[in-house]
């Protein structure tokens, strides 16, 4: 067993350059056993790239990426397409990178609610069903570290809550570390220990405040939902312009972010309403 304090993976000042452009730069990140870290940020902000640096799919162009030796990894990529030429059943897909028996496969499929699809051909699944298969496949081998890149995309709302709950159950059960990318900028799991907001660099980090106490929120989504979802709203104090320059809160425009750039982020007390913030300003 690994020591709890020792990070499973860590990135230090990691960056990736492709074709003269920095996809992401200066990322410090670590995921420990039993910890859920969520990455949020707009399209093209380097969320998937950061995850791939953590997984070792990309080697950092600067900085370092470190993974514990012998780490068992479960990965749900953002996009997987199965060509027609590949005859692939769900059961065979579950065994893609791991040797597991039918009992483990059935248990994993059952936990994501798709045991009835075990014999189906992967190609014929709907988007939401396929995401459930991907998640089941990642957890079936009891990984030490999981990377979930938009794991609930295409899943209907009630299913989304159930899967978020499942993810925190898995974390509690397996004690694995989870690096998650949220497909929704504003929604992260309440079980998240740390939220990292990316926009080509780390804009800010922090632990999300829970909204579980909010009566309005509970009324809106029900008791079960309140434990699984938090609304996490944030405002940038600087904007990345399409040409790569940066506009700051005071209206000035510069070529790069300032080292002390961060942004105010606030956790809403009520779901779905703007403002009403608790004024919980934090600087990254």
């Amino acid at each position: 067993m690994l020591k709890v304090s020792e990070p499973l993976i860590s990135l230090e000042n990691a960056g990736l350059e492709r074709g003269g452009r920095w996809l992401v730069r200066g990322v410090d990140l670590s995921v420990r056993r039993g910890e859920i870290v969520t990455l949020i940020g707009p399209n093209g902000s380097g969320k998937s790239t950061t995850a791939k640096l953590a997984l070792g799919i990309h080697k950092p162009s600067e900085g370092t990426a470190h993974r514990t030796a012998g780490l068992k990894v479960g990965y749900v990529p953002q996009k997987v397409s199965i060509d027609w030429t590949l005859p692939l059943s769900v059961r065979r897909f579950m065994r893609l990178t791991q040797r597991i028996d039918d009992r483990q496969i059935d248990a994993a499929l059952d936990s994501t609610g798709i045991l009835h699809l075990a014999g189906a051909e992967v190609r014929t699944l709907s988007g939401g069903e396929f995401q459930r298969v991907m998640l089941a496949r990642a957890i079936a081998g009891r990984p030490d570290f999981m990377v979930l890149d938009e794991p609930v995309q295409g899943v209907d709302f009630s299913g989304e809550i159930a899967l978020y709950e499942l993810i925190s159950t898995i974390r509690d059960g397996l004690g694995c570390g989870i690096l998650m990318i949220s497909h929704d900028l504003h929604v992260v799991m309440a079980a998240t220990d740390q939220v990292i907001c990316l926009n080509g660099h780390v804009c800010c980090k922090g632990s999300p405040e829970t909204v579980a106490q909010s009566a309005e929120y509970r009324k809106l989504f029900g008791d079960r939902a309140s434990a699984a979802l938090a609304i996490y709203r944030h405002d940038h104090d600087h904007t990345h312009l399409p040409d790569g320059r940066v506009r700051h809160a005071d209206g000035s425009i510069t070529d790069h972010c300032h080292p002390d750039d961060g942004h105010h982020h606030t956790v809403e007390e009520k779901a779905g309403t703007e403002g009403d913030s608790d004024g919980g300003d934090r600087r990254a």
């Binding site: 997984l55 070792g56 990965y75 990529p77 030429t85 059943s89 893609l96 990178t97 014999g119």
Partner: protein, 280 residues
């Protein structure tokens, strides 16, 4: 001679050699279809002719020379793709046709050699010798053992390279091994169907097997069966109608493919496949 006396008949030798090649080609052919590498197979096959020319020039074993040239082309392609200034298909076209042209030019310089170019382009399965059969089966045993070893990793990388890499499957390594296996198969099967038709023997049985398969391993086995059937039907057809043997084998494979996409095959495969998505 004893037990090998049965191989004294040229037609039996052709049959034994052809079946050996069909079995080896099946699993690799599936990967060629899955990974869309048809043009890559063609490129290696074209490069084989340069191998033949170099074998004559330096008096080397032809199979060995073809393997070395094909392997070199495969590695060159990997390196060129890394610093991609041209698209993959342009690179393949460049490598395929320049190595073919180089081979023909080198052969033309060696005026003292009178060789049957057609035999290399379209195969000469009826001229297969016992040592050719030994090469096919020994080489085939190596190819099959290696493909079994790398199967899981190669298949995972075929489904999704990044997923395979993240979960510790080493896709780069299995890719390289796969390319070397392709070079081996082309070197040992060139004599059977010739450089212009090798890709057909890889692709057509695999494509025909797709409709009848519900799993990757099953598809490789069915492709092997269809490949063997193509060899048997093609050779008997060639004997009966006095047609060239290599092309006859490919035509037989084509017939199997057409059957597989016809409505009759759809009925058969539907009956054999388990109902999908049914609740338990």
């Amino acid at each position: 001679m004893g037990e090998t006396a049965v191989l004294d008949d040229f037609f039996t030798r052709a049959m034994v050699a052809g079946i050996g090649v069909a079995i080896i080609a099946a699993p690799l052919g599936c990967f060629v279809v899955w990974r869309r590498l048809a043009y890559f197979g063609d490129t290696l096959a074209h490069a084989a002719l340069l191998g033949v020319a170099l074998a004559f020039l330096f008096e080397l074993n032809i199979t060995l020379a073809v393997f070395v040239v094909c392997a070199a082309v495969a590695v060159a392609l990997l390196l060129l793709q890394r610093r991609a200034t041209l698209s993959s298909d342009s690179l393949l076209g460049l490598l395929a046709h320049s190595s073919l042209a180089l081979g023909l030019v080198v052969l033309a310089f060696m005026t003292w050699i009178r060789m049957d170019l057609m035999g290399f382009l379209f195969g000469d399965i009826l001229a297969v010798s016992k040592s050719d059969i030994a090469t096919i089966y020994a080489g085939g045993a190596v190819v099959l053992s290696v493909i079994v070893l790398i199967w899981r990793s190669l298949f995972a990388a075929t489904v999704n390279r990044e997923l395979a890499e993240a979960e510790g499957m080493h896709p780069e390594r299995s890719n390289l091994v796969f390319m070397l296996l392709m070079a081996t198969v082309i070197a040992i099967s060139m004599k059977i169907v010739g450089v212009l038709l090798i890709t057909a023997l890889l692709i057509i049985p695999a494509a025909a097997a797709r409709r009848f398969s519900s799993g990757p391993e099953q598809m490789a086995v069915i492709a092997g069966v269809i490949g063997i059937a193509s060899i048997i039907c093609g050779l008997y057809g060639s004997l009966t109608w006095d047609t060239p043997s290599g092309p006859s084998i490919v035509v037989a494979a084509l017939v199997f493919f057409l059957i597989s996409v016809s409505p009759i095959a759809a009925l058969v495969s539907r009956r054999h496949r388990p109902a999908q998505g049914a609740k338990p």
